[in-house]
């Protein structure tokens, strides 16, 4: 974890909706694992007030490649303020040979750095895009990925085979849809995999993170053992058998 400035060295438009930025970051921030990310300010003003989460999708010659929507404009040599890496790397097992990644209504970019490690270890990677995630351009994905698309979780027809096939499963969904999506997935996995090991299924929790160090307590995730842990420090991937999903369901009385 470090706080410093980075320079946008190169901008590549990957598709109509996605661009990738090569960032020259501080040496301490070049050591980043799949699942870790940066909290970034692009302006010197306080509007927007909170930092944006920037997801690394690759590393090249000391530069970190992040993915951003093309609706945001950046310029080469632009200096940005970077906090991170935030969180822990995804717990990808060395023994994993069949990796199943599921994106519900969200960009699968958070998986790409980890997936490259898995491919380098000759693991097979299957990516399931559900709902809005189907709009993610295939040309932005490694060609070694097997990609499945479905409009809804229920219309993901290959889920029986793919869940049974996987050594590890990682799922991402944006809040507030994350907990309902993970509940459905956990139910399926428990039904399909009768002997479910503790580190089989991970859900990614990405609530807004004001501080990124666990101080503000805004991103706590409730576990079955009663603990509440900050996603920005102990996450962002959590073993879904450890998470008390029902108690993490948002209530409808916010005021």
């Amino acid at each position: 974890m470090a706080h410093g400035q980075a320079i946008i060295e190169r901008i590549r438009r990957v598709s109509a909706g996605i661009q990738r930025l090569e960032l020259a970051v501080e040496p301490a921030q070049q050591i980043i694992g799949g699942g870790q990310f940066f909290l970034v300010r692009t302006t010197g003003t306080y509007d927007p007030y909170l930092r944006e989460a920037w997801l690394p999708v690759g590393l090249r010659d000391g530069a970190v490649i992040v993915e951003r929507p093309t609706r945001y404009e950046y310029a080469p040599n632009q200096v940005i303020d970077v906090l991170g890496p935030i969180g822990k790397p995804f717990p990808l097992r060395d023994s994993t040979r069949a990796l199943l990644l599921i994106a519900y209504e969200a960009t699968p970019a958070i998986f790409l750095l980890m997936a490259q490690s898995a491919l380098a270890r000759r693991a097979a990677v299957t990516l399931v895009l559900i709902g809005q995630a189907c709009r993610y351009p295939l040309e932005a994905l490694p060609s070694a990925f097997e990609v499945t698309r479905a409009e809804y979780h229920e219309t993901w027809h290959e889920r029986q085979q793919q869940i049974a096939w996987a050594d590890q499963i990682f799922a991402v969904a944006p809040p507030p849809y994350d907990v309902p999506a993970y509940l459905r997935l956990l139910e399926d996995v428990q039904r399909i995999r009768h002997a479910m090991s503790a580190d089989l299924l991970y859900g990614i929790f990405q609530p807004p993170m004001p501080c990124g160090v666990g101080a503000c307590q805004a991103c706590l995730v409730r576990l079955h053992n009663g603990e509440e842990v900050p996603a920005c420090v102990d996450g962002i991937a959590f073993d879904l058998t450890r998470v008390n999903l029902l108690q993490n369901l948002p209530d409808s009385t916010g005021v």
Partner: protein
């Protein structure tokens, strides 16, 4: 050196600068990013007698130049928190002030417990914004009777004028003006209205005005808090009558600014010299250019959050 005394005990701050409750965590969460010894003291996140759980509803709503936070003030209760953090508090380079929340009875029990502990240098009471002046006096007096530690009372922003004198009468050794006010905003992710505490740059004028109103009227030191994001903001609080300040959400958005503010306060004049021109008033050696944004880039257009495909 700024000192708040209570009988034989005192809270001594090397710098009149504190980390505010709710922003810096319970014990050194920011130690990897900030040299905490630059602060005069650290106020813990709120701690209650009994455990409290995190809020179930949306906890963060981004706002223009600010943020709404609704955490539910989660903590494990004073005894568990003390067991968990006592060793770190004991070795802290700066005094630890424990921020307590709860009813008068709960606060009194917490204060009795803390009076036996050596790790805590002072207590800060979070004054609930629903209390009347009479109730505030009772709460503070009840806690005062149970502890010899210096007692700070953090006042609710919109009630501060009404309850400040009562808190001082009840035995508070200093008043913190003020706690982040409550607000309600629509969460763009869930579409719901969410209530919570407000943080942002725009709070400073409100808090500075309150400090200016209260400083001549109460007989105890005022600690300014709210919207501080720059050394100049601290200067405004001091000029209004504050004896020290607390930093809150600036540490989330610009952690480097904590060091900038602390260094600006080191050995610097804290009041404007009579007749000084605005351009001459740069006690921390900051140049005019420094006030311009460090990063020049077009602000991104407002776009609703994920899904971002």
């Amino acid at each position: 050196m700024f000192e708040i005394t209570a009988g034989k005990s005192a809270l001594r701050l090397n710098r009149p600068l504190m980390g505010a409750s709710g922003a810096f965590g319970f014990a050194g969460e920011y130690s990897k990013l900030i040299d905490l010894s630059l602060l005069g003291a650290l106020v813990t996140n709120p701690i209650s007698l009994k455990p409290r759980r995190a809020a179930n509803s949306t906890r963060v709503v981004p706002l223009d130049s600010g943020v709404l936070i609704h955490t539910g003030l989660p903590n494990g209760g004073i005894h568990k928190m003390h067991r968990q953090y006592a060793a770190r508090w004991r070795t802290s380079p700066i005094p630890i002030v424990m921020h307590l929340i709860g009813s008068a009875e709960d606060l009194a029990e917490c204060a009795t417990f803390l009076d036996q502990q050596s790790e805590i240098a002072s207590i800060e009471l979070g004054i609930n914004d629903t209390l009347t002046a009479r109730e505030v006096r009772t709460v503070v007096a009840t806690v005062r009777a149970r502890t010899q530690l210096p007692l700070l009372a953090k006042l609710p922003l919109y009630q501060a004028v009404n309850v400040a004198a009562a808190a001082a009468d009840g035995g508070a050794d200093a008043l913190v003006v003020a706690a982040p006010p409550r607000g309600t905003a629509r969460d763009p992710l869930s579409g719901q209205l969410v209530g919570g505490r407000l943080y942002g740059t725009w709070l400073k004028p409100l808090a500075v005005r309150l400090v200016g109103q209260l400083a001549p009227r109460v007989g105890v030191p005022i600690i300014g808090c709210g919207g501080i994001h720059h050394p100049d903001d601290v200067r405004d609080f001091f000029e209004a009558g504050a004896k020290a300040v607390q930093l809150d959400s600036v540490v989330w958005v610009r952690p480097d600014m904590v060091a900038a503010i602390a260094n600006a306060l080191s050995g610097a004049e804290l009041t404007r010299a009579a007749g000084a021109l605005a351009d001459e008033w740069r006690p921390y050696g900051e140049t005019a250019e420094r006030r311009t944004p460090l990063i020049v880039a077009p602000p991104p257009p407002f776009v609703p959050p994920p899904p971002e495909i």
